[in-house]
Subunit: 201 residues, 2 copies
Protein backbone atom coordinates (compact mmCIF):
# COMPACT_ATOMS: atom_id res chain seq x y z
CA UNK A 1 0.00 0.00 0.00
CA UNK A 2 1.34 3.40 -0.94
CA UNK A 3 2.32 5.54 2.04
CA UNK A 4 0.67 8.91 1.88
CA UNK A 5 2.68 10.53 4.62
CA UNK A 6 6.40 10.19 5.10
CA UNK A 7 8.02 11.61 8.21
CA UNK A 8 11.76 12.19 8.19
CA UNK A 9 13.60 12.59 11.49
CA UNK A 10 17.30 13.27 11.19
CA UNK A 11 20.59 13.92 12.92
CA UNK A 12 21.92 17.40 12.31
CA UNK A 13 24.14 17.45 9.22
CA UNK A 14 23.03 14.03 7.97
CA UNK A 15 21.33 15.44 4.90
CA UNK A 16 17.92 14.28 6.07
CA UNK A 17 16.29 17.50 4.96
CA UNK A 18 17.84 17.28 1.49
CA UNK A 19 16.71 13.67 1.20
CA UNK A 20 13.18 14.58 2.29
CA UNK A 21 12.99 17.42 -0.21
CA UNK A 22 14.17 15.28 -3.11
CA UNK A 23 11.81 12.50 -2.07
CA UNK A 24 8.83 14.86 -2.03
CA UNK A 25 9.84 16.12 -5.47
CA UNK A 26 10.10 12.65 -6.96
CA UNK A 27 6.81 11.49 -5.45
CA UNK A 28 5.12 14.81 -6.16
CA UNK A 29 4.17 15.08 -2.47
CA UNK A 30 3.81 18.28 -0.47
CA UNK A 31 6.87 19.10 1.62
CA UNK A 32 6.86 20.56 5.13
CA UNK A 33 9.42 21.74 7.58
CA UNK A 34 9.87 25.49 7.73
CA UNK A 35 6.32 25.81 6.48
CA UNK A 36 5.02 24.33 9.70
CA UNK A 37 7.04 26.75 11.73
CA UNK A 38 5.80 29.65 9.64
CA UNK A 39 2.23 28.59 10.06
CA UNK A 40 2.61 28.38 13.81
CA UNK A 41 4.42 31.68 13.81
CA UNK A 42 1.56 33.28 11.99
CA UNK A 43 -0.98 32.06 14.49
CA UNK A 44 0.93 32.89 17.62
CA UNK A 45 2.69 36.05 16.65
CA UNK A 46 5.96 34.45 17.70
CA UNK A 47 8.81 35.51 15.49
CA UNK A 48 9.78 32.82 13.02
CA UNK A 49 13.35 32.63 14.21
CA UNK A 50 12.30 32.38 17.82
CA UNK A 51 10.12 29.39 17.03
CA UNK A 52 12.79 27.75 14.92
CA UNK A 53 15.15 28.06 17.87
CA UNK A 54 12.66 27.03 20.55
CA UNK A 55 11.45 24.13 18.45
CA UNK A 56 14.82 22.49 18.90
CA UNK A 57 15.57 23.68 22.40
CA UNK A 58 15.18 21.15 25.17
CA UNK A 59 12.12 21.82 27.28
CA UNK A 60 11.65 21.52 31.02
CA UNK A 61 12.31 23.40 34.18
CA UNK A 62 15.73 24.64 33.22
CA UNK A 63 14.21 26.68 30.43
CA UNK A 64 12.69 30.01 31.22
CA UNK A 65 8.94 29.75 31.02
CA UNK A 66 7.20 32.35 28.95
CA UNK A 67 3.85 31.41 30.39
CA UNK A 68 3.53 34.21 32.91
CA UNK A 69 3.17 36.96 30.39
CA UNK A 70 1.44 35.15 27.60
CA UNK A 71 -1.84 36.87 28.20
CA UNK A 72 -1.00 39.86 26.11
CA UNK A 73 1.59 38.34 23.79
CA UNK A 74 -0.12 35.18 22.64
CA UNK A 75 -3.87 35.07 22.32
CA UNK A 76 -5.26 31.66 23.27
CA UNK A 77 -2.33 30.56 25.35
CA UNK A 78 -3.30 28.91 28.60
CA UNK A 79 -1.98 30.63 31.66
CA UNK A 80 1.25 28.97 32.80
CA UNK A 81 1.80 27.02 29.58
CA UNK A 82 5.43 27.34 28.54
CA UNK A 83 6.38 28.58 25.09
CA UNK A 84 7.56 25.07 24.27
CA UNK A 85 4.27 23.48 25.29
CA UNK A 86 2.42 26.03 23.24
CA UNK A 87 4.58 25.49 20.17
CA UNK A 88 4.22 21.73 20.56
CA UNK A 89 0.43 21.97 20.80
CA UNK A 90 0.12 24.27 17.81
CA UNK A 91 2.52 22.25 15.69
CA UNK A 92 0.75 19.01 16.58
CA UNK A 93 -2.58 20.50 15.55
CA UNK A 94 -1.14 21.71 12.29
CA UNK A 95 0.53 18.38 11.50
CA UNK A 96 -2.72 16.53 12.12
CA UNK A 97 -4.52 19.02 9.88
CA UNK A 98 -2.05 18.25 7.10
CA UNK A 99 -2.58 14.52 7.61
CA UNK A 100 -6.36 14.87 7.70
CA UNK A 101 -6.36 16.87 4.48
CA UNK A 102 -5.51 13.61 2.71
CA UNK A 103 -2.90 15.24 0.53
CA UNK A 104 0.26 13.11 0.41
CA UNK A 105 3.25 14.79 2.03
CA UNK A 106 6.74 14.55 3.47
CA UNK A 107 7.23 16.13 6.91
CA UNK A 108 10.69 16.81 8.30
CA UNK A 109 11.30 16.74 12.05
CA UNK A 110 8.86 18.18 14.61
CA UNK A 111 8.26 14.66 16.05
CA UNK A 112 5.65 14.17 13.32
CA UNK A 113 6.23 10.40 13.56
CA UNK A 114 4.86 10.47 17.10
CA UNK A 115 2.14 13.01 16.43
CA UNK A 116 0.77 10.83 13.62
CA UNK A 117 1.25 7.51 15.44
CA UNK A 118 -2.47 6.66 15.15
CA UNK A 119 -2.50 7.15 11.38
CA UNK A 120 -2.16 4.06 9.19
CA UNK A 121 -0.54 5.22 6.00
CA UNK A 122 2.60 6.77 7.45
CA UNK A 123 6.20 5.75 6.77
CA UNK A 124 8.60 6.91 9.48
CA UNK A 125 12.23 7.35 8.47
CA UNK A 126 15.28 8.36 10.48
CA UNK A 127 18.41 9.63 8.73
CA UNK A 128 21.76 9.56 10.49
CA UNK A 129 25.44 9.67 9.55
CA UNK A 130 28.88 9.41 11.07
CA UNK A 131 30.39 12.48 12.72
CA UNK A 132 33.05 13.00 10.02
CA UNK A 133 30.46 13.09 7.27
CA UNK A 134 28.27 15.47 9.23
CA UNK A 135 31.10 17.82 10.20
CA UNK A 136 32.03 18.24 6.57
CA UNK A 137 28.44 18.78 5.54
CA UNK A 138 27.61 21.26 8.28
CA UNK A 139 30.56 23.47 7.33
CA UNK A 140 29.73 23.20 3.62
CA UNK A 141 26.07 24.07 4.07
CA UNK A 142 25.93 26.37 7.08
CA UNK A 143 29.45 27.77 6.91
CA UNK A 144 32.11 28.11 9.60
CA UNK A 145 31.29 29.73 12.94
CA UNK A 146 33.22 30.35 16.14
CA UNK A 147 31.81 27.11 17.49
CA UNK A 148 33.47 23.92 16.24
CA UNK A 149 31.24 21.75 14.02
CA UNK A 150 31.43 18.78 16.47
CA UNK A 151 30.08 21.00 19.20
CA UNK A 152 27.33 22.44 16.99
CA UNK A 153 26.28 18.94 15.95
CA UNK A 154 26.35 17.55 19.48
CA UNK A 155 24.31 20.49 20.81
CA UNK A 156 21.70 20.27 18.09
CA UNK A 157 21.32 16.51 18.40
CA UNK A 158 21.06 16.74 22.17
CA UNK A 159 18.30 19.32 21.88
CA UNK A 160 16.38 17.26 19.36
CA UNK A 161 16.72 14.14 21.50
CA UNK A 162 15.66 15.90 24.71
CA UNK A 163 12.77 17.66 23.06
CA UNK A 164 11.55 14.44 21.50
CA UNK A 165 11.90 12.53 24.75
CA UNK A 166 10.10 15.22 26.73
CA UNK A 167 7.04 15.33 24.50
CA UNK A 168 6.87 11.72 23.30
CA UNK A 169 8.60 9.73 26.05
CA UNK A 170 10.41 7.89 23.26
CA UNK A 171 14.11 7.61 22.52
CA UNK A 172 15.06 9.71 19.52
CA UNK A 173 17.08 7.61 17.06
CA UNK A 174 16.18 4.26 18.64
CA UNK A 175 15.56 2.06 15.59
CA UNK A 176 12.38 0.32 16.80
CA UNK A 177 10.68 3.72 16.94
CA UNK A 178 10.92 4.08 13.13
CA UNK A 179 10.09 1.97 10.07
CA UNK A 180 13.46 2.53 8.45
CA UNK A 181 16.73 4.18 9.52
CA UNK A 182 19.44 4.97 7.00
CA UNK A 183 23.04 6.07 7.40
CA UNK A 184 23.28 8.63 4.61
CA UNK A 185 27.06 8.87 4.94
CA UNK A 186 27.48 5.18 4.22
CA UNK A 187 24.62 4.64 1.81
CA UNK A 188 24.71 7.97 0.02
CA UNK A 189 21.94 10.58 -0.13
CA UNK A 190 20.76 9.60 -3.61
CA UNK A 191 20.42 5.97 -2.65
CA UNK A 192 18.55 6.87 0.52
CA UNK A 193 16.01 8.69 -1.63
CA UNK A 194 15.78 5.65 -3.94
CA UNK A 195 15.07 3.31 -1.03
CA UNK A 196 12.46 5.59 0.53
CA UNK A 197 10.80 6.26 -2.82
CA UNK A 198 10.58 2.54 -3.48
CA UNK A 199 9.11 1.92 -0.02
CA UNK A 200 6.59 4.75 -0.30
CA UNK A 201 5.14 3.58 -3.60
Amino acid sequence: MAKKIITVSRQFGSGGRTIAKELAKRLDYDYYDKEIIESVAEKTGFSEQFIAEKGERSPGKTIFSYGFDTGSMMPGVMYGMSANDYIWTEQSKFIRQIADSGKPCVIVGRSADYILREYDDVLNAFICADMEFRKKRVVEIYGETDVKPEKRIADKDKRRALNHKFFTDLEWGFAPNYDICLNSGKIGLERCVDILEELAR
Copy 2:
Protein backbone atom coordinates in the same frame (compact mmCIF):
# COMPACT_ATOMS: atom_id res chain seq x y z
CA MET B 1 31.31 -1.20 -3.89
CA ALA B 2 29.94 -4.61 -3.04
CA LYS B 3 29.82 -5.35 0.68
CA LYS B 4 31.58 -8.61 1.44
CA ILE B 5 30.39 -8.93 5.00
CA ILE B 6 26.87 -8.23 6.22
CA THR B 7 26.15 -8.25 9.93
CA VAL B 8 22.57 -8.60 11.07
CA SER B 9 21.62 -7.60 14.60
CA ARG B 10 18.00 -8.14 15.52
CA GLN B 11 15.29 -7.91 18.10
CA PHE B 12 14.00 -11.28 19.26
CA GLY B 13 11.11 -12.42 17.07
CA SER B 14 11.68 -9.82 14.36
CA GLY B 15 12.65 -12.41 11.75
CA GLY B 16 16.19 -11.05 11.52
CA ARG B 17 17.66 -14.54 11.38
CA THR B 18 15.29 -15.58 8.60
CA ILE B 19 16.12 -12.42 6.65
CA ALA B 20 19.85 -13.03 7.11
CA LYS B 21 19.57 -16.63 5.95
CA GLU B 22 17.59 -15.71 2.84
CA LEU B 23 19.98 -12.88 2.10
CA ALA B 24 23.00 -15.19 2.31
CA LYS B 25 21.24 -17.64 0.00
CA ARG B 26 20.43 -14.99 -2.61
CA LEU B 27 23.92 -13.51 -2.53
CA ASP B 28 25.56 -16.92 -2.30
CA TYR B 29 27.41 -15.79 0.83
CA ASP B 30 28.42 -17.98 3.77
CA TYR B 31 26.03 -17.77 6.69
CA TYR B 32 26.97 -17.75 10.38
CA ASP B 33 25.16 -17.79 13.65
CA LYS B 34 24.95 -21.16 15.33
CA GLU B 35 28.11 -22.10 13.44
CA ILE B 36 30.08 -19.54 15.42
CA ILE B 37 28.77 -20.93 18.67
CA GLU B 38 29.62 -24.45 17.61
CA SER B 39 33.10 -23.45 16.68
CA VAL B 40 33.68 -21.78 20.04
CA ALA B 41 32.09 -24.74 21.78
CA GLU B 42 34.48 -27.05 20.03
CA LYS B 43 37.51 -25.10 21.15
CA THR B 44 36.49 -24.62 24.74
CA GLY B 45 34.71 -27.83 25.52
CA PHE B 46 31.74 -25.78 26.73
CA SER B 47 28.47 -27.44 25.91
CA GLU B 48 26.79 -25.86 22.91
CA GLN B 49 23.62 -25.05 24.80
CA PHE B 50 25.57 -23.46 27.65
CA ILE B 51 27.29 -21.11 25.23
CA ALA B 52 24.07 -20.30 23.40
CA GLU B 53 22.56 -19.30 26.73
CA LYS B 54 25.58 -17.44 28.04
CA GLY B 55 26.04 -15.67 24.73
CA GLU B 56 22.81 -13.82 25.37
CA ARG B 57 23.04 -13.49 29.12
CA SER B 58 23.96 -10.12 30.46
CA PRO B 59 27.48 -10.06 31.84
CA GLY B 60 28.81 -8.34 34.91
CA LYS B 61 29.10 -8.81 38.61
CA THR B 62 25.61 -10.16 39.13
CA ILE B 63 26.48 -13.20 37.08
CA PHE B 64 28.36 -16.04 38.68
CA SER B 65 31.92 -16.05 37.47
CA TYR B 66 33.23 -19.33 36.19
CA GLY B 67 36.75 -18.04 36.27
CA PHE B 68 37.87 -19.67 39.47
CA ASP B 69 37.78 -23.22 38.18
CA THR B 70 38.70 -22.69 34.57
CA GLY B 71 42.14 -24.19 35.02
CA SER B 72 41.01 -27.72 34.51
CA MET B 73 37.85 -27.08 32.46
CA MET B 74 39.03 -24.67 29.79
CA PRO B 75 42.59 -24.82 28.53
CA GLY B 76 43.91 -21.38 27.67
CA VAL B 77 41.47 -19.46 29.84
CA MET B 78 43.09 -16.72 31.87
CA TYR B 79 42.66 -17.10 35.58
CA GLY B 80 39.72 -15.01 36.78
CA MET B 81 38.24 -14.46 33.32
CA SER B 82 34.50 -15.01 33.43
CA ALA B 83 32.81 -17.43 31.09
CA ASN B 84 31.25 -14.46 29.31
CA ASP B 85 34.60 -12.75 28.78
CA TYR B 86 36.03 -15.99 27.49
CA ILE B 87 33.15 -16.58 25.08
CA TRP B 88 33.40 -12.97 23.88
CA THR B 89 37.14 -13.27 23.24
CA GLU B 90 36.84 -16.57 21.40
CA GLN B 91 33.87 -15.41 19.33
CA SER B 92 35.63 -12.18 18.43
CA LYS B 93 38.70 -14.10 17.27
CA PHE B 94 36.56 -16.41 15.21
CA ILE B 95 34.56 -13.58 13.62
CA ARG B 96 37.78 -11.80 12.64
CA GLN B 97 39.09 -15.04 11.18
CA ILE B 98 35.98 -15.30 9.03
CA ALA B 99 36.42 -11.68 7.89
CA ASP B 100 40.12 -12.16 7.19
CA SER B 101 39.42 -15.25 5.11
CA GLY B 102 37.99 -12.90 2.48
CA LYS B 103 35.00 -15.13 1.83
CA PRO B 104 31.80 -13.06 1.68
CA CYS B 105 29.40 -13.82 4.51
CA VAL B 106 26.36 -12.86 6.56
CA ILE B 107 26.83 -12.96 10.34
CA VAL B 108 23.85 -12.87 12.69
CA GLY B 109 24.19 -11.33 16.14
CA ARG B 110 27.26 -11.77 18.38
CA SER B 111 28.01 -8.02 18.13
CA ALA B 112 29.83 -8.75 14.88
CA ASP B 113 29.14 -5.16 13.78
CA TYR B 114 31.34 -3.90 16.60
CA ILE B 115 33.95 -6.65 16.33
CA LEU B 116 34.47 -5.80 12.64
CA ARG B 117 34.27 -2.01 13.07
CA GLU B 118 37.76 -1.53 11.59
CA TYR B 119 36.89 -3.42 8.41
CA ASP B 120 35.85 -1.45 5.34
CA ASP B 121 33.55 -3.66 3.37
CA VAL B 122 30.96 -4.36 6.03
CA LEU B 123 27.26 -3.50 5.93
CA ASN B 124 25.66 -3.41 9.38
CA ALA B 125 21.93 -4.01 9.54
CA PHE B 126 19.51 -4.01 12.47
CA ILE B 127 16.12 -5.69 12.18
CA CYS B 128 13.31 -4.78 14.55
CA ALA B 129 9.53 -5.06 14.68
CA ASP B 130 6.56 -4.07 16.76
CA MET B 131 5.66 -6.18 19.79
CA GLU B 132 2.44 -7.58 18.26
CA PHE B 133 4.28 -8.85 15.20
CA ARG B 134 7.01 -10.39 17.33
CA LYS B 135 4.64 -12.04 19.80
CA LYS B 136 2.84 -13.80 16.98
CA ARG B 137 6.10 -14.88 15.37
CA VAL B 138 7.71 -16.13 18.57
CA VAL B 139 4.74 -18.38 19.32
CA GLU B 140 4.60 -19.62 15.71
CA ILE B 141 8.29 -20.43 15.54
CA TYR B 142 9.28 -21.37 19.06
CA GLY B 143 5.90 -22.54 20.34
CA GLU B 144 4.03 -21.68 23.52
CA THR B 145 5.73 -21.92 26.90
CA ASP B 146 4.68 -21.16 30.46
CA VAL B 147 6.22 -17.73 30.05
CA LYS B 148 4.14 -15.20 28.11
CA PRO B 149 5.63 -14.15 24.74
CA GLU B 150 5.91 -10.47 25.82
CA LYS B 151 8.00 -11.53 28.79
CA ARG B 152 10.20 -13.84 26.69
CA ILE B 153 10.77 -11.09 24.15
CA ALA B 154 11.50 -8.43 26.77
CA ASP B 155 13.95 -10.72 28.59
CA LYS B 156 15.79 -11.72 25.45
CA ASP B 157 16.05 -8.14 24.16
CA LYS B 158 17.23 -6.92 27.54
CA ARG B 159 19.98 -9.55 27.61
CA ARG B 160 21.10 -8.72 24.10
CA ALA B 161 21.14 -5.01 24.86
CA LEU B 162 23.04 -5.44 28.13
CA ASN B 163 25.53 -7.85 26.62
CA HIS B 164 26.15 -5.53 23.68
CA LYS B 165 26.52 -2.50 25.91
CA PHE B 166 28.90 -4.30 28.28
CA PHE B 167 31.32 -5.41 25.59
CA THR B 168 31.00 -2.56 23.08
CA ASP B 169 29.91 0.41 25.17
CA LEU B 170 27.36 1.13 22.44
CA GLU B 171 23.58 1.28 22.59
CA TRP B 172 22.03 -1.77 20.96
CA GLY B 173 19.38 -0.68 18.46
CA PHE B 174 20.45 2.98 18.34
CA ALA B 175 20.19 3.78 14.62
CA PRO B 176 23.48 5.70 14.24
CA ASN B 177 25.34 2.53 15.27
CA TYR B 178 24.18 0.76 12.10
CA ASP B 179 24.11 1.45 8.35
CA ILE B 180 20.48 0.48 7.97
CA CYS B 181 17.66 -0.46 10.34
CA LEU B 182 14.46 -2.03 9.10
CA ASN B 183 11.12 -2.70 10.76
CA SER B 184 10.34 -6.14 9.35
CA GLY B 185 6.78 -6.05 10.66
CA LYS B 186 6.01 -2.91 8.68
CA ILE B 187 8.16 -3.48 5.63
CA GLY B 188 7.79 -7.24 5.36
CA LEU B 189 10.56 -9.86 5.56
CA GLU B 190 10.80 -10.36 1.81
CA ARG B 191 11.19 -6.66 1.14
CA CYS B 192 13.82 -6.35 3.87
CA VAL B 193 15.84 -8.99 2.03
CA ASP B 194 15.33 -7.10 -1.25
CA ILE B 195 16.63 -3.86 0.25
CA LEU B 196 19.65 -5.48 1.88
CA GLU B 197 20.45 -7.48 -1.24
CA GLU B 198 20.31 -4.32 -3.33
CA LEU B 199 22.57 -2.48 -0.86
CA ALA B 200 25.07 -5.31 -0.64
CA ARG B 201 25.58 -5.60 -4.39
